[in-house]
């Protein structure tokens, strides 16, 4: 099975700071990369996604970057808020986009 590796495993940042999460993958045929956000007691929900034809996508305080040559992704959260405290998963589809492999997740805590 293709691997998607995330780092760090957990992270604590101060309110107002910038959070950076990273993800690396193996299969160069992956072409769509979502990030999911999961709060305790809930299922993951799509936060932001990027296609491999782009190198950057922004949505408010959240930006994802894609580096095709290095097979890496990152998620940047500016002005981090306590409400951003959650687990973040990167994922990649394989076998014709019909199923996904998820990273192990990064547990983020933002403290006021």
């Amino acid at each position: 099975q293709q691997q998607v590796r995330q780092s760090p495993q957990s992270l604590t940042v101060w309110e107002g700071g910038t959070t950076v999460l990273t993800c690396s993958y193996e299969d160069s045929t992956f072409n769509y990369f979502p990030w999911y956000q999961q709060f305790p007691g809930e299922g993951p929900a799509l936060l932001i996604s990027i296609l491999s034809v782009s190198d950057k996508k922004e949505d408010g305080r959240f930006t994802t970057f894609f580096n095709k040559r290095e097979k890496k992704l990152s998620l940047h959260i500016i002005d981090s808020q306590p409400g951003d405290s959650a687990t973040y998963f990167c994922a990649a589809p394989y076998t014709g986009n019909y199923k996904y492999v998820f990273g192990a997740g990064t547990r983020l805590k933002v403290i006021a």
Binding site: P34, L46, G103
Partner: protein, 113 residues
């Protein structure tokens, strides 16, 4: 529109019991997935249905795990017999035809004693 509904939210079973978890996908969605979530293994795919046809049955999970899609709006995951190592959160997700976004339910937390 209602999201993905999973029942029950919590289940406690004795080792060796049979349990059935239920999932109602988003209305009209074509694809349905069952995942198991643990702190150590993360999200592991158990089963994948497309238009009610089983496309993936999860390899290593085949022997005691059986997912069924009885109609386009209802799926079950049966674990028989349960073992303590099955303790995890079981997530159901659905996806519209031709789209990429997975919509997850809140999950069922299973504890096997």
């Amino acid at each position: 529109d209602a999201g993905v509904t999973q029942t029950p939210r919590h289940e406690v079973a004795e080792k060796g019991q049979t349990i059935i978890l239920k999932c109602e996908p988003v209305s009209g969605h074509n694809d349905l997935f069952w995942y198991r979530q643990t702190k150590i293994q993360g999200l592991e795919l158990l089963s994948y249905f497309r238009s009610k046809s089983l496309m993936e049955d999860g390899g290593a999970f085949k022997d005691r795990f059986k997912a069924e899609m009885l109609n386009s709006s209802f799926s079950t995951l049966k674990i028989q017999p349960t073992e303590p190592k099955d303790s995890a959160v079981y997530l159901c997700a659905s996806r519209d035809r031709g789209q990429n976004t997975l919509y997850f339910g809140a999950g069922t937390r299973l504890s096997v004693l």
